[in-house]
Structure formats: C-alpha cells, structure tokens
C-alpha cells in the first residue's frame, strides 16, 4: 500500500498500514472518529482507492485546480453593505453569553492506545464508510 501525494505541497509518502501514531494525527486534524476496526478498514480502502491516481503519468502537465480559470475574478467596491445581524446570527447557537458565541471547552483527545472502543464526544463525527 503506497500513497504519495503532491510533493509540491510537501506531503509525505505513506507506506503500508497506517500506524497508530498516524491514525491519531489524522483524527486530530479531521476531528473524525475512526478508531474502530470498521473505521480503519474503511481508511485503508480509501487510501487504496485514491492511490489509483498514480497509475496515470502526469509529468509535465499542470494540474487543473479550478473550473473558474477562464472567469474574471470580480472585484467589489469598498462600501459597507452588510452587518448588524447580531441578534439573528446569535439565535443559531444554543449557547450564547451577552452577544458572544460560546465555544465548547477544549476536550483533551485521548490516544489510540487509551481507548479501544470508539468514544463519542460532542465535537467529533463518527466516520461512516461510503465505499
């Protein structure tokens, strides 16, 4: 299993089954929970699926990163048009304090070794394998 993604952006090649350390890091970055057996299996499938991109030889070809490259970027005049929706916007949040949003406290993330079963926490999303 080998994944090598765009070196220009500085990503590192990943070989073999993702290590516990890497799974930890991925979970922290994505705030997605996939410590279960199913989750890991799904991850491996996803990596293998994406690796198919490297079958194609793209040397000397500029990647297309936008479907808008022929469009002209619209520049806006510097005049105030929006704002003053504080009440409306704050209604969207369950917790507010005096016109401030309240963010949940920093929940310390446990490492892979510390929890073998998946633990749900308010800010993490349980990963469901689409493949």
């Amino acid at each position: 299993l080998f994944v090598c993604v765009c070196p220009a952006i500085g990503w590192q090649p990943v070989q073999g089954v993702p290590s516990a350390d890497l799974v930890d890091k991925l979970e922290r970055l994505a705030l997605v929970d996939f410590r279960t057996k199913e989750g890991l299996a799904c991850l491996e499938k996803a990596i293998r699926f994406a690796a198919q991109l490297h079958v194609v030889d793209t040397s000397g070809v500029e990647p297309m990163d936008s479907v808008l490259e022929d469009r002209i970027l619209h520049l806006r005049e510097d005049t105030v048009l929006e704002g003053n929706h504080a009440e409306e916007l704050l209604q969207l949040s369950k917790n507010t304090v005096e016109e401030y949003y309240v963010a949940p406290p920093d929940i310390p993330l446990t490492t892979f070794e510390q929890s073998c079963d998946s633990t749900r926490s308010p800010i993490r999303i349980f990963f469901c394998c689409p493949l």
Binding site: L75, E99, Y100
Partner: protein, 552 residues
C-alpha cells in the same frame, strides 16, 4: 569575551531605566554601538574547549491589517471596538450558501505596499484554503495565498542610529520573501473561571497582508528598527494604520543562533509581542536563552514560545501537538487574481472598475519616509540623524515646519530646540507631539527673542521650561519681562559690574596678563553671577578685556 556581553547588559539596563521613566513612548532606536551582541565563549562542561562565536538569526512574519472600509471577502464594516458580532455578515459567520467576493481596495493595498518594498508583482496570483480547527475560525479554514502570493522578492531599507553618540545613521536592509493576502480570524476570549471560550467574529474576515521577511537580521535592535520603518511606510501609504497595541500590526519572530558560516540552528517562534519595544526585548532574551543552552551543551527545541512582558522572558506556549498539517487546497470559489502592469496589458473590453493596474498605482504613491528624510535634509540643511529623529516621532515634522514658518531663524538653529528641548520634555512626561504644552508659534516667538539678542541661550532654555510649566498661559515675552530675564546690554551698567569684578580679583587679572587665557572664564562667571546670568556674554567679554588692558 566579556566586553560585548557587558556592553549589551549596560545598554539593556539603560534601556530599562529610560523605559521605566517613559513607559508608553514609541521606541527610538539608539545604541552604544551597532554591533549586535555576540557570544565569544568557551564550553565549560565538556572536556573539549572549543571557542564558539555564536550569532543570532532573526526572521520576522508580519501580519498587517489592511486599512479598508470593508472586509476582504464580504461587505461588513471594519471597525475597532464595536458591540460583539455586530460587524458580521452571513459569509463571515460561514453560513452555508455564501461565497467570497474580493474587495478591490485590499488588492490595491497589497500592490501599493509591494511597490513601496520594491517587490516583483505577480501578474497572476492564486487563493488557497488553509485548514485548521479553532473556535474563532467558523469555516474551519482560512483563505490565504500559499501557492502564488501577490508579490515576491522585495527589500525593506531601514537605518540604525549608531556611533559613539548615537548620531551616525547606518543603513541596513532586509529581504522581503513575499507579500500575500489572507483573512483574519475572529477573537476568542477565554473565560477560565467557567471553563468556556467566548467568540466575537467582528474581526473574522478582515483583510491582512502577510509579509514574510528573510532571516537577514541578527538582533532585537535591528528587528525593532526594521519594523519601525515598515510602520512608517505603511502609515505613509495609508494601507495599514500600524498600531501594534490595537493589533493592526502583528509581529512574530523566528529566532535561532549559529556560528557564522555554518548552517542555521534550530529555530523557535516567539509570539504575543505587542509593541516595538517588547519586540527588541523578546528577541534579545530568546537569543541569549538559546546561547546559554548551547553553551551548557544542551540543544534548542523547535517550539512556539510566548513573550511575557511582565517578566521580560519567553515561555513555551501550550503544546501544539507536533507539526500541523494544514491540508492546503486551492480555493474553489475564486478564480486567479490578475494584476496588470499597464493599461496596454488589460484585455480589450474589460471593465475599468474591475481592473487593478500597477502603473497607475505607482503614479499615485505618496511620499515615502526615506524620500521625506532626504527632502528635509536638502530643503532645510539639517543632518540625516535629525531627519531620522523628526520622522520617528508622529507629528514632529509638522511641528518643526510650522516653527520654521513662524520664525526667520535658520533651520539648523531651530532643529536642536525641536529634537532636544521639546522632545525631552515630551518623553519625560510621556506625551505625544499633539499634546505638547508649547505650541509651534510660541516656540517661534521664543526663538525670535533669542535671535534678536534680548535673552541669552541659557536663559532661553529656562524660559522654555517655564512656558511648558505654564502650559502656554504666558508668552515668552511675558515671562521674560515678568522675571526680568532680559539680557542686560546697558553698557554703563555692565562696565560698572566688570570694573568691580576686575578690582576684586587681582590674582586672576595677574594670571591673565601672564598668559593664562582660561582665567577669563572665571571672571566672566563672576560677572554673570552678579547680573544673575543676564549679561550678554559677548559684550561682557569685550568689556572685561578692555578693563584688564586699561588698568594695566
């Protein structure tokens, strides 16, 4: 070994003492010498004694808040101190279905800044998303320019005041790696008592210019001078108001140490620096800390540290869980940004209001600080270090020029009063030029009296102090007549006093006749004592010489 370190310690003690007296003044860079502290020392704890000549390496990352009416990608207002979340549009709150629309003013600001810093403007630049999770970043990513920024490869020219008396202007420069446009995040206020974080998104989406400098500097003093010059440039351009305490200009320092010629050492990032003064202190502390670690055989960790102004030290920030991976990806909602060199390169049929043309911006650039300094030196014949001091203080140039307009005196005779007498009082009482207790016209009046010969220069200084104390309630003329400080040039009166002095000092007179010229000063001193310092020294000298030769 001891000398450069001792010099640095003396200098830092001096700085601390002056800063205690004037806690909130802007930082004027003066130095005992322009050589930054170097450590020449021996390893003490190992068996091999290797002389190490370590040098600091400083690179700066500066975020300048763009001075515009609205935010970078939305039409909400940019204002300091507004009710929480009142300047937030649906896009700023990252509600689904909203899209970024780039503010033309932000692009112009970046291009103007790039021109002032001699950068190469990229005709086409691109926007990217930088992903990380934090409470004040509602979208979960920041729109920035990681692949191709709007400008690269510039240089910031600045000066240090060096030499023995701190009056020699030493030109220096630092390379600007790139200037990129990006979004600011909101503000989070940590309420530790209740274990919660309050979020205000007023600042979320405000335009920032990130200026990345190459690590060309070696100490805190150089960094402080460079940032000061950048502040002056940005303020002259109007692209950023440059107020560090209000967060309009944020500086992070990357600090490492190494032996010159060898590869760079491990670097640490120092954050939470709120003024130019703290910038110099934080960098010097960090350089010294790293040198001490290496001296005792340890190694420096690559980490982020925070500057604690109370203790004057840097402390490790909360661990950022190792290297961050920002998962950069192109911003799919924004096409490339095109900046045209001149109107000829603009494609036919393009809307003029939609194009940014470098040539027209270049033509409209205001006068930059370096040009202002040269102009002052040339127009008024003052010294470069005077021009430097004038520009370093907000409003001092205007004060100086207003005094010049109101008096016929030569600029070279006026400059000393502005840069020494006035500035000293302002610094002592921690006031800015706008709060000066003596107006330019009052000072001009005082200088007219001095020029006309009605008062001596030492008396003029006294009168100035009195005018300051009275906060302009009395004019110079009034004070002079009230306290009877006018120069006594009544010849007869002076002759009487001189005769008295000559008669009562036979020894001195003899000594003078024997060839001792210096003793004349003692006689003059006695005359001044008699007349309470109000005798015209030139006249007194002449009369004394006459008296002495007469009675011979």
């Amino acid at each position: 070994m001891a000398a450069p370190i001792a010099a640095a310690r003396v200098r830092s003690k001096m700085m601390k003492r002056t800063l205690l007296l004037c806690p909130n003044t802007s930082f004027t860079v003066r130095s005992l010498n322009v050589e930054c502290p170097r450590y020449n020392g021996q390893l003490q704890s190992t068996t091999v004694s290797v002389p190490m000549r370590l040098e600091g390496v400083v690179g700066l990352e500066i975020h300048a808040q763009i001075h515009s009416r609205t935010k970078m990608f939305s039409g909400s207002a940019v204002r300091f101190l507004s009710p929480p979340n009142s300047l937030v549009s649906f896009f700023d709150a990252s509600l689904p279905g909203t899209l970024p629309v780039l503010n033309k003013r932000c692009v112009e600001a970046a291009v103007m800044t790039a021109l002032a810093l001699n950068c190469r403007i990229n005709r086409k630049s691109l926007f990217d998303r930088k992903h990380y999770f934090y409470a004040d970043l509602p979208a979960g990513y920041q729109i920035t320019q990681q692949r191709r920024p709007v400008a690269v490869d510039g240089v910031l020219n600045y000066s240090l005041l060096g030499g023995k008396k701190g009056n020699r202007v030493v030109p220096k420069n630092v390379r600007v790696k790139q200037i990129q446009l990006e979004q600011d995040s909101g503000k989070s206020l940590h309420d530790d008592a209740r274990g919660q974080t309050l979020v205000d998104l007023n600042r979320a989406g405000v335009g920032l210019m990130e200026l990345v400098m190459e690590p060309d500097m070696t100490c805190g003093e150089e960094a402080a001078a460079a940032v000061r010059e950048l502040q002056l440039i940005l303020q002259a351009l109007g692209t950023c108001q440059g107020n560090m305490s209000e967060g309009q200009l944020r500086v992070d320092a990357n600090v490492s140490v190494h032996r010159p010629g060898e590869p760079l050492g491990v670097r640490t990032e120092v954050k939470n620096i709120n003024s130019i003064r703290y910038l110099a202190r934080a960098i010097d502390y960090e350089i010294q800390r790293q040198m001490d670690i290496l001296r005792t055989g340890g190694s420096v960790h690559n980490e982020t540290r925070s500057y604690d102004s109370k203790s004057g030290t840097t402390v490790p920030m909360r661990d950022k869980e190792g290297l961050q991976d920002y998962r950069f990806m192109p911003e799919p909602n924004l096409p490339p940004l095109m900046v045209y060199e001149d109107s000829a390169s603009v494609p036919a049929g393009a809307d003029v209001r939609q194009t940014v043309v470098v040539q027209s911006l270049r033509a409209e650039l205001p006068e930059l600080p370096a040009v202002t300094r040269d102009r002052l030196v040339e127009t008024h014949g003052i010294l470069p270090e005077h021009a430097f001091t004038l520009l370093n203080e907000d409003g001092l140039v205007e004060y100086f020029e207003r005094v010049l307009k109101a008096t016929g005196r030569e600029p070279r005779k006026v400059i000393g009063w502005v840069t020494n007498e006035l500035l000293a009082l302002l610094k002592q009482q921690d006031l800015n030029v706008g709060q000066s207790r003596v107006s330019p016209s009052s000072m001009a009046q005082l200088l007219e009296l001095l020029e006309a010969g009605s008062i001596s220069s030492s008396v003029a200084k006294q009168v100035f102090q009195e005018m300051w104390r009275q906060s302009g309630a009395k004019t110079a003329t009034e004070i002079v007549s009230e306290q009877d400080l006018g120069l006594v040039s009544d010849a007869q009166r002076l002759r009487d006093v001189c005769a008295k002095v000559v008669d009562s000092h036979p020894h001195e007179v003899q000594a003078f006749r024997a060839g001792n010229q210096k003793v004349l000063n003692k006689l003059m001193g006695s005359v001044q004592k008699e007349t309470k310092g109000r005798a015209d020294p030139i006249v007194v000298r002449k009369i004394l010489l006459d008296e002495i030769s007469e009675s011979a």
